[in-house]
Each structure stands twice: as C-alpha cells, then as structure tokens.
C-alpha cells in the first residue's frame, strides 16, 4: 500500500468519466425515460378514453337498436291493421258484388220465368184454340173468337 502519483491519474480519469456521464449519458437517458414515461401515460390515457368512447358507442347503438325495435313493431302493427282494413274492405266489396250478382240473377230468373210463362201462355192458347176447334168442330173463325180467347188467356 503506497500512495503515489497514480492518485492524480485516477483523479483525472474519474473526473473525465464523471464529466462524460454528466454530459453524454445521464441527461439523454433521463430524457429518454421521461419521454417514454410520458408516451406510455399518454397511451394509457388514450386507451381509457377510447374505452370510454367504446362504451358510449355501445350505449348509443343500444338506444338506436331499441328505437328501431319500437319503430319496427309499430310498423308491423300498422301493417297488420291496414291488412285487416283491406280484408274488411274486400269482404264488403265481395258482399256487395255478391248482392249485385244475386240481384241480376234474380232478375234473369224472373225474366226467364216471364218468358216461360209467355211461351206457356202462347202454347196454352194454341192448345186451347186447338181444343176449342176440336170441341166445336165447327168452322169457327179463329179470328172471330180470338177476342174471347185472349180474354181467357189474360185470366190465366
């Protein structure tokens, strides 16, 4: 153990190394770590913010969905009632139509009944005339007796 001029060399070397650390190593590392710390805290902040945004968006989408559901159900109700209405209208129309058809059918029937009556009357008249001709067996002018027969026919 002997102290000698080596001491001064070590002193100088230590001062130089401390200076190098002071000038080039320590501050740049501090800055780097500080920057990184800030970046990370910013990132975490942004993450929590976007988490919040996500929650908000979820809520919003839920409300929109609920609204849509309500709207859809009201639309369905509307559609249902409209359909009922249409069906009712159709029924009404059909009933009316049926009535009309029935009426025209009844008219037809009446007309054809009348026709048939007329035909029958004519035929009966002819038969009556023929019967009368045969009965009388005389020369009865058909024309002269027509008035009597017509009045007969009308009574039928």
């Amino acid at each position: 153990m002997n102290i000698n001029a080596t001491f001064f060399a070590e002193l100088l070397a230590f001062c130089i190394f401390v200076f190098i650390t002071y000038r080039y190593i320590w501050p740049s590392m501090e800055n780097l770590l500080e920057d990184r710390r800030k970046e990370i805290s910013d990132g975490l902040e942004a993450a929590s913010q976007s988490q919040r945004k996500l929650e908000e968006a979820n809520k919003e989408s839920a409300t929109i969905l609920d609204g849509a559901k309500v709207e859809a159900s009201s639309l369905i109700n509307q559609a249902n009632s409209r359909a009922d209405q249409i069906v009712d209208e159709a029924k009404e129309q059909a009933a009316e139509e049926a009535k009309k058809i029935k009426l025209s059918a009844e008219a037809d029937i009446e007309q054809s009944a009348n026709k048939a009556k007329d035909g029958l009357r004519d035929e009966v008249a002819a038969l009556v005339i023929a019967g009368a001709q045969k009965i009388l067996d005389k020369e009865i002018n058909a024309k002269a007796n027509k008035d009597i027969i017509d009045s007969l026919i009308k009574k039928i």
Binding site: M1, N2, I3, N4, A5, T6, F7, F8, A9, E10, L11, A13, F14, C15, F17, V18, I20, T21, Y22, Y24, I25, W26, S28, M29, E30, L32, L33, D35, R36, E39
Partner: protein
Amino acid sequence: MAKENAQNLIETSDYIGHHLVNLTFGWCEKTSSWGFANHQQELFKGLDSACKVSEMGFWSFHLDTIFMSILLGAVVFGFFGLVNRAAKKGVPSKLQNFAEFVHEFIASAVNSGYHGTSKIVGPLAFASCLWIISWNLMDLLPVEMASFFGHFGGGFNYFKILPTADLNAPLALAIVVMVLVTYYSVKTHGAGGFLKELFVVPLGPLEFISYVSKHVALALRLYGNLFAGEMIFILIAIMFGQFAMSFSQTLWFLPGLILNLSWALFHILIVALQAYIFMMLTIAYLNLASTKH
C-alpha cells in the same frame, strides 16, 4: 525437512509479494531518471531503471492500475454512451433495456437519497458505481491469469488487474466526493457556517476528525474489502501451487478447487455490494452537505 519448509515459506511469501506489487513507472533518485522499477518488465529495455519499487518515491505511477481502470472505464462508459446514442423512444432493444434498468436503479437511489438541487449527484453516483463494479469484477478473474499473460504476452513480470486493490484508485474517488461535499457544504451553510459546524458544534474539533475520517473510510472500506478478497484468492491459489510443486501435495487440489469456487461465488456479492455502498454513501454525504439541518 525444516529447510524445505523454510524454502517453501520463502517461495510462498515471494509469490504473495509478487502478486501485490504493481507495475510501477517512476522517478528514480539514484539515477535521476524516469523508468520502470527494476526487473518489472522486459518490453522496454532502455526504460528499466536501477530503482526497485520500494526505492521510488511519490512520483511514480502504477501503470497497471491506470491502464486497467481507464480501459474498464472506456468499456463501461463507451457501452452506455453507444447504447444511449442508438437508443430510441419506442420499444427498447435488449441492450437498451439493460442500460435503462441500470440507470433507473441508480436514479431511484439518487432520487430517494438526495434531496438537493445539484445536477452532478446522479452522474457522480452512476460513474462511481459502475466504474467500481467494473474494477471489482476483475477480482473474479483467476489471480494467475494477469501475471501469465503479462509475462508471456507483454513482457511484464508484474501486472495487477484489480485497480480497487491499489489504494490510489479508491482514494481518488473518495477525494472527489470529499471536494464536492465541501463545496456543497460551503454553498449551503456558507463558509463560516461550515467551519463552525466542523470546529464548534457540538463537540468541537471532533466533528472535523469525523469529517475527514468518513471520507478516508469511504476509500479504505472499498480498498480493504477488495484487497482482502484478492488476498484470499492468492492464498487459495497457493494451494494449487503446492500441488504443482510436489506430488504429495496433490491432496490440496480438491479443497483448493472448492474453496476457490465458493469464495468466488461469495465474492460476487462483495463486488456489487461494495460498489453499491460506495454509491449510497456518496449520495448520503452529498445530501447531508446540500440540505439545511
């Protein structure tokens, strides 16, 4: 037998002595010239002086200590400087991660221990801690290695690779701390206040003695621990030496191996611990100096 033992004793003390002598370059009174201590090296023939190490005075340099400490400093601070230069803000590389871990460790020690405003304390703690660790790690290299390579590779018969085991190096660090402590004490308390604190309150000059001794102790603690560790490595190495000398000493090989391994493992703790203690005390002393109390 007695003669042989005496011979062994001389060889052993020579061996220890050899490992405790630094490669010295200094002023030789006898010849009034600069040169390496006698027979320490064979590389520079013209620079071999007539003086032995013990005959050289204050004006001599331990070239091995200076070389090793500056080399280690260049490696350590070069590493951190380069990593810092390549550092990026995003995802750090593994080396950067390591550098940041070391920095954070020291920075947290400084932040928790130092409450002043000085900007030099962080770098000082960083530089002293890492430099001392790099020195101390040299103690884990086999004791014989440096001598071996020094001798056969460089022509140096003496070469100590452990700067901490040379009191000059720890003392230089401690003196820098002492100068800074004095500076900040004067800055905080004023020259009068500082002197008053040293010589008047509360126990008079005792305070001054404690002031000086705590800084000397800072150096001696580090030096003593590592010197003792180195000494034990040397003593363990002697066992292997015994083994090489005679076959009957073969028995020493296994205990030597076990001892060396266990002491090396334990020494890892001392390597880091002493550097840590030095750093923490530096921070504590500077904190005391730069805060009012």
